[in-house]
C-alpha cells in the first residue's frame, strides 16, 4: 500500500490516506517482523517523505509531507518494538488493553486508592512470600538493621522473576507464530483465542515488570 504515499505518475508526496501502521509500510498484519527490512523501508521512505525535502515546496505539499512523515515515524516507533507492536495489533483487533488499564488508573487516582492488579494465579505463592520479605526489609531499614540472608532471599526471588519475565517474552513470540499462521488460514474463533492469550501474556509480563520495579526500589531505598 505504500504506493499511495506518492503520485503514481510524478512521484510527489500525496495527502495521507487513513491506514494502520502495518498497511503504511505495506506489511500484512503479522507479528513476526523482519526488523532489518522494516529499518530499510523506514530509511527509504524517510528519504522521500521528510519535510526537509519539501522546504521549498508549496504549502499543501509541505503539510502533506509533515503529516506523512510524522505518521511514518509513529509507525516505525511502534512496529520496531516487539511489545508495542503486539499491543498495537491487539488494539487494532478490538482488544481494549490500554483503555481498560487507563480507566483503572484514573479510577484509582480519583478514589485515592492504590491500583490493585490481580495476581496471576501461578505467581500467588511467590508474590506472597516476596511481599513479606520486602515488608521485612523496609522494617529493618527503619531500624537501621541489615540482614544479609534477607537480601539473598530477595535477590533470589528477583532472579526467578527475571527468568519468568524472559520466558513470557518467548511465550509471546510463540503466540506470534500462531497468529501469523491464523491470519492466513485460521478461523475467526482461533484468532480471537490467540489474541486473548497474547493479552494474558502481556498482562502477566506487566505485572512482573511492576513487581521487579518495586523490588529495585525497596533495595535502593
Amino acid at each position: 500500500m505504500r504506493a499511495t504515499h506518492f503520485c503514481s505518475s510524478c512521484g510527489k508526496v500525496q495527502p495521507p490516506v487513513p491506514s494502520d501502521f502495518f498497511t503504511f509500510f505495506g506489511f500484512p498484519r503479522k507479528l513476526e517482523l523482519d526488523t532489518g527490512a522494516l529499518e530499510k523501508e523506514f530509511y527509504a521512505l524517510s528519504r522521500r517523505l521528510h519535510p526537509d525535502l519539501f522546504a521549498q515546496a508549496n504549502p499543501e505539499e509541505r503539510a502533506w509531507s509533515l503529516e506523512q512523515s510524522s505518521r511514518l515515524n509513529d509507525a516505525y516507533r511502534i512496529l520496531k518494538d516487539p511489545i508495542k507492536r503486539t499491543e498495537y495489533l491487539l488494539r487494532l483487533e478490538g482488544v481494549e488493553l490500554e483503555e481498560q488499564s487507563k480507566q483503572a488508573t484514573e479510577k484509582a487516582r480519583a478514589t485515592g486508592e492504590v491500583k490493585k492488579q490481580a495476581v496471576p494465579p501461578d505467581l500467588l505463592e511467590e508474590v506472597f512470600e516476596l511481599n513479606m520479605h520486602l515488608e521485612e526489609l523496609r522494617m529493618q531499614k527503619k531500624l537501621g538493621e541489615d540482614d544479609p540472608a534477607l537480601f539473598e532471599e530477595i535477590g533470589k526471588a528477583k532472579l526467578s522473576l527475571d527468568e519468568k519475565y524472559d520466558a513470557l517474552f518467548n511465550e509471546l513470540k510463540a503466540q506470534w507464530k500462531k497468529w501469523d499462521a491464523a491470519v492466513d488460514s485460521g478461523t475467526e474463533e482461533e484468532r480471537a483465542q490467540i489474541l486473548n492469550r497474547m493479552l494474558d501474556v502481556l498482562n502477566r509480563r506487566n505485572y512482573i515488570r511492576n513487581l521487579v520495579r518495586d523490588v529495585n526500589e525497596a533495595l535502593e531505598e
Binding site: A55, S70, R77, R109
Partner: protein, 633 residues
C-alpha cells in the same frame, strides 16, 4: 539568484555566527570588522542607536546599564524561572512588567523582550551576509540547543521572524555539528557529540547510516556552560576584594564588568598555560591581583564540569548503548577547549575526542549544510538527511494533577499523538487542555507549555461529544495542536495561551522590517554604507594630499587622482550604491601609487625608531632576525 541565499545561523549565548555553502564546503561569513564571531552583545549608544557585536562590547564596561549579554538564557522563560539568572547576571527587568507578560529587559531607558534582543543580533548577522552576497537574505536555518523546550524554540523562531527572516528550520546544535563533521567523512557508525558552550550543554548520540544522520538520544542542560565558570570566578574575586581590600563592589556595574573581562581572559589563558594572573584596577585606583594556577582552576570548576556527566549517562542509557559502542566523540563549543573538560570526556567515553574543526564555528558550518539541504541540496549534500528527536516528553495533565505522557522523549520528529476528549456536563461548550513538557510524574514538576481551550463543542449530553485532538511535533521540535469533534465532524476552535511566549500579534507588531520592504531596505542600507565608505576614503585622500608623498607624484598622476576624486564626490549623494562603489574602487585603484609612497615614508620613519612598538609586534624579518632587531634597540 541572490535572493535565494539560505544562510545557517548559530545564535549562541556568547557568540553568534552566520555561514553559507561556498560550492561544496560550508564557510563562515565575516562581519565588517573581518571577524567571524559576532559577540552576542547588544548595546544602546548615547543616541539610542543599537550596537551589536564586537562594537557593543566596550559598552559592557563603559555603560553596563546600556548593554546586555547572554540573553539566550532568558529565551522562552518566565520571571519565576530566572531568579538565579537575575542574581548572577546584570539583567535588569523592566519596571512596568505585568504578571503573565513575556519578560522584558531594560537597556538604557528602553526595554526589550529576549526574542527582540536576539532579533537585533540576527539582524546584524543578516546584514553581514547581505553585504557579503551583495543582495538581500531572507531565509535562514537557525540552531538551538538540542535540549531547548518548546517555548525556547518558539522564542528563537519568533526572534528570526522579528529580524525579517523566514526561519526554514531550527536545527539542534550538536546535530548541526555532526553534519559539519560528517560532510567529508561519509562513514557509518555511532557518534556522540558533546557540546559545552557559553550557556548550554547538550549531548547527542547519533547513528550515521549512508548519509542519514539519525539521532538516537539527546540530553542536556540549557543552563550550564562557560558562563557558570565565569560567574563562579567572579563570585570568588568579589569575595576576595571584600576580604582583602575591604571593598564591596558587588553593586558597581563597571567594576563587575571589568572583573568579568579579567576572569574570562584568565580562563582562556589557563587552557594553554599552567597559570594566569588577574589584575583589575578597581574604582578608587586600588588593584585586585591574584594568580590562579591550572590546578586550582580545575578544582574550582570540577563541580560545574561534573554536571555534564549525568546527562551523558542518561543519553547512553536511552540509546541502550555502552560507552565502548560509541565509535567517535566530537567536541563542540568554546568551553570544550578547557583541558579538564576534554579529560572528562575522554574518561567518560574511553576515547580521544575529535577536535579537528574549530569548536566555535562547527555549529554554524553545520547549519549552513542543513540550509543547503533545505535549498534543494548539492553534490556534497544530496545523500544527506537529518532525522532528529524531541528532547523532552510531551504530556497532558489528567485527573489528580498527573502528567500523562503522549509522546516520549527521543521520539523521531515529526511525531504525533492523538487523544480523545469528552464533556463532563450537559451542553458543555469548552474543554480545557493543559499541555506539558518534561519527564516528571506530576504536572506541577513539568514545564507548562500552553493551555488550550477547545471552543465551539456542539451542545450534547455529557460524555457524548468525541473530540479528537491531534498533537504534532514538527521537524523544528515545535508543537502544533488541532482538534475535531468527531460526531459533528466540526473543526473545533483552539485558543492557545502560551505559558511563556509571544502571541502572533505581538510578534507581528515587533517586526524590525517588513518582508515586502526587504529589498528596498537592503538597497538603502547599502547606499548609506557606501556613502560612509566614500567619506572615509575622501578624508584619507585629503590627508594624503598634505603628505610629502603627494609631491613625489607627477602632475599627470595628481590630475588623474583629482578627476577620480571629483567623480566620487559627484555620485556620492546619489542613490545608486553600485555607482558609488564603482567610483570608490576607481579612486582606490588610482591612489595605489600614492599609498605606496606614503607607506614607504612611514616605514622609513619607523626604521628611524619612532614607531618601535609597532615594528616590534610585526611578524616580519625583524622578528626573525635577532641581529637586525638588536639594531633598533
Amino acid at each position: 539568484m541572490a535572493s535565494d541565499h539560505i544562510v545557517g545561523i548559530d545564535l549562541g549565548t556568547t557568540n553568534s555566527l552566520v555561514a553559507y555553502m561556498e560550492g561544496e564546503t560550508p564557510a563562515v561569513i565575516p562581519g565588517e570588522d573581518g571577524l567571524n564571531l559576532v559577540p552576542s552583545v547588544v548595546a544602546l549608544d548615547g543616541e539610542n542607536q543599537v550596537i551589536v557585536g564586537n562594537a557593543a562590547r566596550k559598552y559592557l564596561i563603559e555603560t553596563p546599564e546600556r548593554a546586555v549579554y547572554s540573553v539566550k538564557r532568558l529565551m522562552g522563560r518566565g520571571v519565576e524561572d530566572i531568579q538565579e539568572e537575575l542574581n548572577l547576571f546584570p539583567f535588569r527587568l523592566a519596571d512596568d512588567l505585568q504578571p503573565g507578560e513575556v519578560l522584558r529587559i531594560k537597556i538604557g531607558e528602553r526595554s526589550y523582550t529576549p526574542p527582540e534582543i536576539s532579533a537585533l543580533i540576527l539582524r546584524q548577522l543578516k546584514w553581514n551576509a547581505e553585504r557579503f552576497f551583495g543582495g538581500p537574505v531572507k531565509k535562514a536555518v537557525i540552531t538551538v540547543p538540542a535540549y531547548f523546550n518548546d517555548a525556547q524554540r518558539q522564542a528563537t523562531k519568533d526572534a528570526g521572524r522579528i529580524a525579517g527572516l523566514d526561519v526554514l528550520r531550527l536545527v539542534n546544535e550538536p546535530t548541526a555539528a555532526s553534519l559539519a563533521y560528517g560532510l567529508d567523512k561519509k562513514k557509518n557508525g555511532v557518534v556522540a557529540v558533546y557540546d559545552l558552550g557559553g550557556g548550554t550543554f547538550d549531548i547527542s548520540i547519533l547513528r550515521l547510516h549512508d548519509g542519514i544522520f539519525e539521532v538516537i538520544a539527546t540530553n542536556g542542560d540549557t543552563h550550564l556552560g562557560g558562563d557558570d565558570i565565569d560567574n563562579l570566578l567572579i563570585t570568588i574575586a568579589l569575595d576576595d576584594i571584600r576580604g582583602d581590600l575591604g571593598l564591596d563592589v558587588r553593586r558597581n556595574g563597571e567594576a563587575v564588568a571589568l572583573i568579568r573581562k579579567a576572569v574570562i581572559e584568565a580562563k582562556i589563558a589557563l587552557s594553554s598555560q599552567p597559570s594566569a594572573n588577574l589584575d583589575v584596577e578597581l574604582p578608587g585606583g586600588k588593584h585586585y591581583r591574584r594568580e590562579i594556577s591550572r590546578e586550582m582552576f580545575e578544582q574550582l570548576i570540577q563541580p560545574i564540569v561534573e554536571r555534564t556527566v549525568g546527562p551523558c549517562k542518561q543519553a547512553l542509557k536511552d540509546a541502550k548503548l555502552k560507552p565502548a559502542q560509541i565509535d567517535e566523540v566530537v567536541l563542540v563549543g568554546g568551553s570544550t577547549r578547557i583541558p579538564k573538560v576534554r579529560q572528562l570526556v575522554e574518561n567518560l567515553f574511553a576515547r580521544v575526542p575529535h577536535t579537528d574543526l574549530n569548536p566555535d564555528e562547527v555549529v554554524a558550518l553545520g547549519a549552513a549544510v542543513q540550509a543547503n539541504i533545505l535549498g534543494g541540496g548539492s553534490e556534497a549534500t544530496k545523500e544527506m538527511l537529518l532525522l532528529d528527536v524531541t528532547p523532552l516528553s510531551l504530556g497532558i495533565e489528567v485527573a489528580g494533577g498527573v502528567t500523562d505522557k503522549i509522546i516520549l522523549r527521543n521520539s523521531t520528529i515529526p511525531a504525533s499523538a492523538t487523544q480523545y476528549y469528552t464533556t463532563q456536563v450537559d451542553g458543555q461548550k469548552n474543554v480545557a487542555i493543559h499541555v506539558l513538557q518534561g519527564e516528571r510524574e506530576l504536572a506541577r514538576d513539568c514545564r507548562s507549555l500552553a493551555r488550550f481551550d477547545l471552543k465551539g463543542v456542539p451542545p450534547m449530553p455529557a460524555g457524548m461529544p468525541r473530540i479528537e485532538v491531534k498533537f504534532l511535533i514538527d521537524a523544528n521540535g515545535i508543537l502544533h495542536v488541532s482538534a475535531r469533534e468527531q460526531r459533528s465532524g466540526k473543526e473545533a476552535e483552539i485558543e492557545v495561551q502560551p505559558s511563556y511566549g509571544l502571541t502572533d500579534e505581538q510578534v507581528e507588531h515587533m517586526l524590525l522590517e517588513s518582508f515586502d520592504y526587504a529589498e528596498e531596505d537592503f538597497r538603502q542600507r547599502q547606499v548609506i554604507e557606501a556613502r560612509r565608505e566614500a567619506e572615509t576614503i575622501l578624508a584619507a585622500l585629503a590627508k594624503g594630499k598634505k603628505n610629502p608623498a603627494w609631491h613625489e607624484l607627477t602632475n599627470g598622476d595628481q590630475r588623474k587622482i583629482e578627476t577620480l576624486e571629483e567623480a566620487l564626490i559627484a555620485v556620492k549623494e546619489g542613490n545608486d550604491y553600485q555607482q558609488i562603489r564603482g567610483a570608490i574602487d576607481a579612486l582606490n585603484q588610482g591612489t595605489m601609487r600614492l599609498a605606496e609612497l606614503m607607506m614607504d615614508s612611514a616605514v622609513s620613519t619607523a626604521l628611524k625608531g619612532k614607531a618601535m612598538d609597532q615594528t616590534d609586534l610585526e611578524e616580519g624579518p625583524a622578528a626573525g632576525h635577532p641581529v637586525a632587531k638588536a639594531e633598533f634597540e
